[in-house]
């Protein structure tokens, strides 16, 4: 940008009028000072703008004259422009072919209205989710009668991306959980000289509760969000619409492969997390309380009834369904603006984690009541 001559404004108050002599470049980048002067100027006399000295003019200059002329007129003073050249007039006529009108911004609603609206949206959201659930299961029944239309290839690719590729992060997190639990219990158990009970502690807490929960949370963050983003992007590019017009049911092609893949891999990942987590505890037991690996494993065989392990694994498919359905459901809710992908991805992960924890609590209550 040339900054050869900034816009300047000289105000001369005469007896019957105030003359504003404008000179320099009246363009967007050199107008800020003049605009500040005019912003604080209080009109006392009719105003005449003399613009014969300006060297350059663009729409910002024209807008400025018009804006402040209107302001002065509202305050009861006439305002006119003299000394304009032909090109100035042309620009003026292009920009102000007719009088401008102000459109007020949409009305802000009151608190009660917002509360009502939110509640309504929430209830409606539950309705939409039930709709989704119903249609998903109808598609399942339909596909069970024709097993050849199940997308086996898609299922296997999701098993790889959501399951196999997640092994490193599951290993690290469950190892650390094993370490943490062992550390915390070693200190307490040593007070009673009951060091050996660390094996029971780790074995039961990990296999029954911690490994399934940690695995589900990692998968919800990793794959649940990916499901929403993938389906949301497809929705934005109208791929979902294209699928529908071709008669490919999107739930059959996009929802079920993800649900089934997660149902297959989550129990396996939990089993994997069990092993790594117990190993983590074993390392700590060995270093902190000098319990040898053989002793640990011998004790584990007696101390860990198989039912705890089975309960942990059985939770897997339930968690998988919750994660996959909330991820895919939120994906289908994405609308045509880019912002909504982020919003629904966040929602899907938050919902999935909440549902997993709620489901786990339900399991705890039920199984305790059943004396398992």
């Amino acid at each position: 940008m040339k900054s050869s001559s900034h816009a300047t404004l000289e105000i001369i108050n005469g007896t019957s009028k105030a003359v504003f002599t404008c000179s320099g470049e009246w363009t967007l980048n050199s107008l800020a000072n003049v605009a500040m002067i005019l912003e604080s100027y209080q009109a006392v006399l009719p105003i005449v703008w003399n613009i014969s000295n300006i060297t350059e003019l663009d729409s910002a200059g024209v807008a400025l004259w018009n804006l402040y002329s209107r302001k002065f007129k509202k305050e009861g003073f006439t305002s006119k422009i003299i000394g304009s050249k032909e090109e100035h007039l042309r620009l003026y006529r292009l920009l102000y072919p007719h009088s401008q009108e102000n459109t007020p911004p949409p009305q802000q609603q009151g608190g009660l209205h917002t509360l009502g609206r939110k509640t309504h949206d929430y209830v409606q959201g539950i309705g939409y989710f039930l709709d989704f659930l119903g249609e998903v299961f109808i598609v399942l029944l339909y596909s069970l009668r024709r097993p050849s239309i199940i997308r086996y290839r898609s299922i296997s690719s999701h098993i790889v991306t959501a399951g196999f590729d997640a092994l490193p992060i599951i290993a690290v997190s469950s190892f650390l959980i094993g370490v943490v639990v062992a550390f915390q219990s070693v200190v307490q158990l040593q007070k009673f000289g009951a060091d050996i009970l660390i094996v029971d502690m780790i074995g039961i807490s990990l296999t029954r509760e911690l490994a399934p929960l940690i695995t589900a949370i990692v998968i919800a963050g990793r794959s649940g969000s990916a499901f929403t983003a993938q389906i949301g992007a497809m929705k934005m590019t109208q791929e979902i619409d294209a699928m529908k017009t071709m008669g490919f049911h999107p739930y059959l092609f996009l929802v079920w492969p993800r649900v089934i893949a997660l149902m297959i891999i989550l129990p396996l990942l939990i089993f994997f997390a069990d092993i790594i987590g117990i190993f983590g505890g074993m390392v700590i037991a060995n270093t902190q309380s000098h319990l040898s690996y053989t002793e640990f494993i011998n004790r584990l065989q007696g101390a860990l009834p198989i039912k705890h392990f089975i309960i942990g694994i059985v939770k897997g498919p339930f968690f998988a369904v919750l994660i996959a359905l909330s991820g895919t459901y939120r994906g289908f809710q994405v609308s045509s603006n880019t912002e909504s992908i982020g919003r629904y991805t966040t929602k899907s992960v938050v919902n999935a984690i909440f549902l997993v924890i709620a489901c786990d609590a339900l399991f705890s209550v039920l199984l305790t009541e059943l004396k398992l």
């Binding site: 940008m1 363009t27 980048n29 107008l31 800020a32 912003e39 807008a63 804006l67 620009l91 949409p106």
Partner: protein, 251 residues
């Protein structure tokens, strides 16, 4: 003859193994409406993206306002970017902002003008491109296709650029809206003294508003010049593109 605004010399572009441009050159002069034409995949959009510094050619040089855009410092490049406006094919309006905020963003970032002057300028630009005044409060998702193009044009014109790049300005518009949009572009050129570079497929646009153009094909420049000059060139792509034998444009 008007001074040269953009000069692309011997541009070579390739993505991986596919060569897009092989020694493409063109010259765009001040105050003309210049079109980049060619079939799908002929690299016309890529050439436009290279001019606006979104892509870099493998070799060759592009001079805009006399400056080699490959050799600019970060500050110089920022300065140059403010001298042009770009209208993307899909509008590319920021979807979290209203139309008014989309336009005001540039003023807020680049000028120190008072709030009500910014508001005045935003209203002015919205009016200039023929949008209804209530559009200022609408979000991009609430606009029709034609309104999105107009809003995007208003945003491209925000900083009063001297140079305007339009990527398929009339695609997705109905014929009547397309002609109105053409008329608007032409009016802006005449009254604001703009130089306009556009990529288009629309034969009517080419016929009605384009002064000169370059026709790309087979990685090279097939023809360059005014419509009559290009129609005089004997080349299968020229014949195909302008449907000389059928119902297309006659010179």
């Amino acid at each position: 003859m008007n001074p040269i605004v953009i000069e692309a010399r011997n541009i070579v572009t390739s993505f991986g193994d596919t060569c897009i441009h092989d020694n493409v050159s063109c010259t765009i002069r001040e105050n003309e409406i210049y079109a980049l034409l060619g079939g799908s995949g002929s690299g016309k959009s890529t050439l436009l993206r290279e001019m606006i510094m979104l892509e870099t050619p493998a070799s060759g040089s592009i001079h805009i306002f006399g400056e080699n855009i490959a050799k600019l410092s970060l500050v110089e490049a920022q300065k140059l970017r403010r001298k042009w406006g770009v209208l993307f094919q899909s509008g590319a309006l920021y979807s979290s902002l209203t139309v008014g905020e989309n336009i005001a963003l540039l003023y807020k970032e680049y000028t120190n003008l008072p709030q009500n002057l910014i508001h005045e300028l935003v209203k002015l630009k919205i009016d200039l491109v023929g949008l209804p005044s209530h559009a200022i409060h609408l979000y991009p998702s609430e606009l029709s296709g034609g309104m999105v193009k107009r809003a995007a044009l208003a945003r491209a014109l925000a900083l009063d650029p001297k140079l305007l790049f339009l990527d398929e300005p009339t695609s997705g518009l109905d014929p009547l809206s397309s002609r109105q949009f053409d008329a608007l572009i032409r009016q802006l050129r005449d009254l604001l003294g703009l130089t306009i570079v556009l990529v288009t497929h629309d034969l009517d646009t080419i016929h009605h508003i384009v002064d000169r153009f370059v026709l790309l094909g087979e990685k090279k420049v097939i023809a360059q010049g005014t419509l009559n000059e290009v129609l005089a060139v004997n080349h299968p792509i020229v014949d195909y593109f302008f449907q000389k034998e059928t119902h297309g444009i006659q010179g």
